[in-house]
C-alpha cells in the first residue's frame, strides 16, 4: 500500500482509483502550514470533546464497579462482617473522621469490620508489590489483637497462567493464610514444621508465592503498629 502512496505523492494525481479527492490533495506544497495546524487543532478539539462525553458517562460506572469489587473482597477476607468502616492514615494515626478540608484521595487507608454486636472483628488491608510478571494487588484480613491473619484474596495479578496465577485460584494456598501468625514465613509444601507463622508455598510458583507473603509482611510492618493502637482505643 505504500507503493500507491508514493505514486500519489510524486506523479499526477489523476491516477485511477483516486476518486473524490479534493483540491487540497492535488498539490504538494500548496497548503499553508497554518491550515495544516488549524485542521489538526480543530480535529483534536472535536475528538477531545467526544472523549470527554463518553468519559462522563463511563467514569461513574467504572468507579461503581471498582467499589463493588473492593466491597466484596473486604467482606470475604473479614468473613462477612456486619458492616465495615474506612479508616484513613492521617499524620501517622488512623482516623475515621478526616480533618476538615482534607481530601481523601491518595490517603493510605484500611477497612475495619464490625460483628453484629458492634465489636471490631478485624482490619482489611490492601497491598501491592511486584510479583513475577507485574504488580500483584491483594487484600488481607488481619486480627490486630491476636496478630493473626483472617484471610487473603488476590485482587489483581498477571502471573503466568497455570503456574503463578495459582496464587489467586489455588484454594489450598489462599486458605493457608487464615489463622497464620504475623510475620509470615513461606515454607515449601510439606517442609513445614506445623508452626503458626508458616504458610505453604505453591510448587512451581515460588516467586509469586513469596511475593504474596512479602506484600503482607511489609504492609503489616508499615501499618501494623497503627492498627494495634487504634484497636486498643476502640475496644476500651
Amino acid at each position: 500500500m505504500s507503493d500507491e502512496r508514493d505514486d500519489a505523492g510524486t506523479g499526477p494525481n489523476a491516477q485511477g482509483g483516486r476518486i473524490g479527492r479534493g483540491p487540497a490533495l492535488s498539490g504538494r506544497a500548496d497548503v499553508p502550514a497554518l491550515k495544516l495546524v488549524g485542521t489538526l487543532a480543530i480535529a483534536g478539539a472535536l475528538a477531545g470533546m467526544l472523549i470527554v462525553t463518553v468519559y462522563q458517562w463511563a467514569q461513574p460506572r467504572i468507579l461503581a464497579h471498582q467499589a463493588r469489587v473492593l466491597g466484596d473482597a473486604i467482606r470475604e477476607v473479614l468473613h462477612d462482617p456486619d458492616h465495615y468502616q474506612t479508616l484513613f492514615v492521617v499524620n501517622g494515626t488512623l482516623t475515621a473522621e478526616l480533618p476538615a478540608g482534607q481530601d481523601s484521595t491518595g490517603l493510605d487507608r484500611v477497612y475495619l469490620g464490625f460483628d453484629a454486636s458492634g465489636a471490631p472483628s478485624g482490619f482489611a488491608i490492601v497491598g501491592a508489590e511486584p510479583g513475577f510478571q507485574d504488580v500483584i494487588r491483594l487484600i488481607f484480613g488481619y486480627d490486630a489483637d491476636k496478630g493473626r491473619l483472617l484471610g487473603m484474596k488476590v485482587l489483581e495479578n498477571k502471573e503466568t497462567p497455570g503456574l503463578g496465577d495459582k496464587i489467586e485460584k489455588d484454594s489450598t494456598f489462599t486458605g493457608g493464610f487464615a489463622g497464620a501468625l504475623s510475620p509470615l514465613r513461606g515454607v515449601k509444601k510439606g517442609a513445614g514444621t506445623g508452626k503458626d507463622d508458616e504458610v505453604d508455598m505453591i510448587t512451581g510458583a515460588t516467586i509469586s508465592s513469596r511475593a504474596v507473603i512479602a506484600i503482607i509482611n511489609h504492609r503489616l510492618e508499615q501499618i501494623g503498629p497503627l492498627l494495634g493502637k487504634y484497636h486498643a482505643g476502640v475496644t476500651q
Partner: protein, 218 residues
C-alpha cells in the same frame, strides 16, 4: 487499481486477503490475547468496531484532511475510537477489559486499521470503505477465533470456559502461554497455505462456469 464490485470489497478481507492469515498483519494482538475464546471475541469485536468506525470517518472526511497530515488525521480518528472503546469495555464488561489489559490501547497502532485507511478508505466512497472495513474486521475476528479456540481447547480443555475434553484431559499449559501462540499461529498458517496450494492445483474444476471468478482471480 482494478475496479471492484461491492461484494468483492466485502469478502476480500474475510478470506482471500485475510489480514492475519494472508497479509500477516496485526500479529501482536493475534499472539498476545488469544489464549481463550472469550478474549479473542472481545479483542475481535473491539478491533472490528474501531476499524469500521475509522473507515467510515476517514472516508467521509477525506476531502477535509490535507494530504500532508493525513497520517496524523487517521491516527487521531483511530485513537479517538480506541479510547472510547476502552472506556466502554471498562464500564460494561470490566472482567474482559481486565483480561485484555494494555492490548485495547494498542489497537491504535494495529497496522490492519491504519493500513485499510491508507490503502482504501482515504480514496474510496464511504459505503465501499465500510464494506471493506467490515470484511477485514470479520477476517481478523475469524483468525483470532481460530487461534483462541485451538489454544483454549488444548491449553485448558475448555471452550468459552465450558470444559469439553473431560476431567481426564491434562491441559497443555504451554498452549495458553506465549509460546503456544507462536505454535498455534505457525500451524494455522501451515494449514492455510496447504489448503491454498491445494485450491490452486484444481482451479478449473472449482471456478464459476462463466469464468467470472477466474478472470478476477487471474
Amino acid at each position: 487499481m482494478k475496479a471492484t464490485t461491492p461484494a468483492q470489497d466485502l469478502t476480500r478481507g474475510v478470506w482471500r486477503e485475510n489480514p492475519v492469515l494472508v497479509q500477516l498483519l496485526g500479529l501482536c494482538p493475534t499472539l498476545a490475547v488469544t489464549n481463550t475464546v472469550a478474549n479473542s471475541i472481545a479483542m475481535g469485536l473491539a478491533t472490528f468496531f474501531v476499524l469500521v468506525g475509522s473507515s467510515f470517518l476517514v472516508s467521509s472526511l477525506k476531502k477535509l484532511i490535507p494530504n500532508e497530515i493525513r497520517m496524523s488525521g487517521f491516527i487521531l480518528i483511530i485513537a479517538t475510537f480506541v479510547t472510547i472503546v476502552d472506556m466502554l469495555l471498562q464500564a460494561i464488561v470490566p472482567d474482559i477489559h481486565k483480561a485484555l489489559g494494555a492490548f485495547i490501547a494498542l489497537i491504535v497502532v494495529n497496522c490492519i486499521i491504519l493500513g485499510r485507511q491508507e490503502a482504501f478508505a482515504s480514496k474510496r466512497p464511504v459505503g465501499r470503505s465500510v464494506l471493506d472495513a467490515v470484511g477485514s474486521g470479520a477476517g481478523f475476528m475469524i483468525a483470532l477465533l481460530m487461534m483462541g479456540a485451538f489454544r483454549e481447547l488444548l491449553g485448558n480443555g475448555s471452550l468459552l470456559g465450558y470444559p469439553v475434553l473431560g476431567p481426564s484431559f491434562e491441559p497443555w499449559v504451554i498452549m495458553i502461554l506465549p509460546p503456544g501462540g507462536f505454535f498455534t499461529l505457525g500451524f494455522i498458517l501451515l494449514g492455510f497455505g496447504w489448503w491454498k496450494s491445494k485450491e490452486e492445483e484444481k482451479p478449473k474444476l472449482r471456478r464459476w462456469p462463466h469464468g467470472v471468478v477466474s478472470k478476477e482471480a487471474a
